[in-house]
Amino acid sequence: MAAKTVTKDIITLRGSAAIVSEFFGYAANSILYNRGVYPEETFVKVKKYGLPMLLTQDEGVKSFITNLTAQLSEWLEAGKLQRIVLVIMSKSTGEVLERWNFSIETDNEVVEKGVSREKSDKEIMREIQAIMRQIASSITYLPCLDEPCVFDVLAYTDTDVAVPFTWVESDPKLIENPQMVKLHSFDTKIHKVDTLVSYKNDEWDEQ
């Protein structure tokens, strides 16, 4: 009995990295869908985290996210990733309208000594589900994106990371005086992910 639960709940660095990078893939898809960055009809519904999730069918976007999550899990396994930020910008002016901030805290002991931690899949899934629900419901308070938008993803890594061939250094693309809403977080006991969305104050709108 005891042995059974132990084998079930053990989570390794590799597994944790996979969970976090997969989470980011789904979260990015969900944000792009819910914020209308890409047209609705380019998404299909799949079941994930006990929720209907939407995934893009646009080949370009798909491969961008796949390459991204592959690189992210590499950094996560090395414990070098501090933060991932999905930035939504105006297509015409390039102005940053929204920043979806996923900060990551890594348990360094796991990375250095290769030990594992215990946490059930179910519990992690429940935490992720709560975030996904919040992302989907965020449209109720986020300002309307009235203009065509583009997105980009920034990865905050440790400085000792060698910049991969396909990556370049970027500015943080901050929003001046933003509104911020903190969402739920989840914790694999190895990586703790805090989610926060900041957006442009739209009070100029009608004043």
Binding site: V37, Y38, P39, D58, G60, V61, F64, I65, N67, L68, Q82, R83, K91, S137, T140, Y141, P143, D146, P148, C149, V150, F151, D152, V153, L154, A155, Y156, T157, D158, T159, V161, V163, T166, W167, V168, E169, S170, D171, P172, L174, D202, E203, D205, E206, Q207
Partner: protein, 454 residues
């Protein structure tokens, strides 16, 4: 187990952390049966070398790798110094969304919103009519604009109809002194049948075209009926007794369901546009959401949500026309707040103080805006932008609290009746010409016009 208590303490045991050892030692000092509550250190039993190591060397080793306090972190972020961090992005950017059909064609309203500068909102009323003897009673609902473009208003014992198409007025009924006064009026969705709630707890249903009374609903309440709401053939009535009754107007025994949740007068009652959820507000400061599927399967007191955040009577309720699960509610005299709710989850999305009693609320059907009517001190109508809830306009004219508001079927004009005995019309929700697309919707049956020939 017992042997553990008396096991001699070994310094070389690397597995047991310091603290655990400590406890072990403490317990071992005393007789097992006679455990004392005080801790008396025994110097000879303490491992000073280890303790010293932990306090000095060990700590250094652990915390040496660059200690950054959250404050420092924030500071660095603020001044855009990212030492210890490298921000990277893909060289290849994700494809920009391709729009095969330009957005302007896909969604003309959006385009017109962008191209037109700003709607000018007339600050004064377009038209003012006298409404003598209108009751100055916060808890009643005496004004309703039906889908057939006829406005009904109750002045004491009489219900008048004002036809907005030709500005003609007619008297529908004057009820007997002992029944009256009229405490609520509400048009059925067909715009032909009018429900009239009375002070003596009866509810009359009238055919307005034929000026004929069809039936009287009795027995639902024991006190006056101050609020009414239609949901196709269901007429929901709210009484001073705190009860909410669903009446099926087609059948003889008309009482279908009774919702008991308010312990004081029900003054606000609105069905959602889907007809699944009913919002009710009462003098007990409570807002309830009743879900038809939930209520019918459980006991009738089983509300779907109960919101107790208002601190005064809630009469003003309005369901959002563009987001089915969004409800706005406004509190009376001591509260002054408008609150927005997600009625699926029960979450409060927003709450803000308007500075005055909120008597009624209306959503703009053409724009994302909410209109509220107020009492003391300014007796104004205020237009708010959703979701920022920035005040867009304030409409003044009434000289006493604006108790009742209703919207024309095309959604452009608002009629308000106030305790100053006037009925005012405001062109606040846009120009009928620009919202003209909404009008043909009324004739969406393809052969409706042909039926009208005969």
């Amino acid at each position: 187990m017992d042997s553990g208590w008396w096991r001699p303490f070994s310094k070389t045991d690397p597995r047991t952390p310091f603290q655990e050892r400590f406890i072990l030692r403490k317990n071992s000092l005393h007789d097992q049966d006679n455990q004392l509550d005080r801790f008396i250190p025994n110097r000879s039993a303490m491992d000073f070398n280890y303790a010293h190591y932990m306090l000095t060397e060990g700590r250094k080793g652990k915390e040496n790798p660059e200690v950054i306090t959250p404050y420092q972190k924030k500071l660095r972020e603020a001044v855009n110094i990212n030492d210890g961090t490298r921000i990277l992005a893909f060289k290849n950017k994700p494809p920009t969304p391709v729009e095969l059909i330009p957005r302007e064609i896909l969604s003309p309203p959006l385009q017109s919103k962008l191209s037109k500068p700003k709607r000018s909102i007339p600050q004064t009323s377009e038209r003012t009519l006298d409404a003598p003897d209108i009751l100055d009673d916060f808890y009643l609902n005496l004004l309703d604009w039906g889908s057939d473009n006829v406005l009904s208003i109750a002045l004491e014992n009489t219900v008048y109809l004002w036809n907005a198409s030709d500005s003609s007025t007619s008297e529908l009924v004057t009820v007997d002194e002992e029944y009256g006064p009229v405490t609520s009026v509400s048009w059925a969705p067909d715009g032909r049948h009018l429900a009239i709630g009375l002070n003596n707890s009866h509810v009359q249903i009238w055919d307005a075209c034929a000026s004929k009374q069809l039936r009287t609903l009795k027995g639902g309440h024991r006190t006056r009926v101050g609020s009414l709401a239609w949901n196709s053939h269901i007429l929901t009535t709210g009484g001073m007794d705190g009860k909410i009754v669903n009446n099926d107007v087609r059948v003889r025994s008309h009482i279908v369901e009774t919702y008991r949740g308010h312990n004081q007068e029900v003054c606000g009652l609105k069905w959602s546009s889907s007809g699944h959820q009913l919002a009710s507000g009462g003098n007990d400061n409570v807002v309830h959401i009743w879900d038809r599927s939930v209520v019918s399967s459980n006991s009738p007191t089983n509300w779907f949500h109960r919101f107790e955040e208002h601190t005064a009577a809630v009469k003003a309720l309005a369901w959002c026309p563009f987001q089915g699960n969004l409800l706005a509610s406004g509190g009376g005299g001591g509260d002054h707040c408008i609150k927005l709710w997600n009625t699926h989850t029960g979450a409060r999305l927003n709450s803000f103080d308007t500075g005055s009693q909120v008597c009624s609320l209306l959503w703009n059907k053409n724009e994302r805006e909410l209109l509220s009517s107020h009492g003391f001190t300014k007796n104004q109508l205020t237009l708010w932008k959703y979701p920022s809830m920035v005040k867009i306009a304030e409409l003044n004219g009434h000289t006493s609290r604006v108790l009742y508001m209703t919207q024309s079927p095309d959604g452009c004009t608002v009629a308000s009746a106030a305790a100053d005995e006037t009925l005012r019309f405001w062109n606040v929700f846009g120009n009928p010409a620009t919202a003209g697309k909404a009008a043909p919707k009324a004739y969406n049956e393809p052969f409706a016009k042909f039926n009208r020939i005969r």
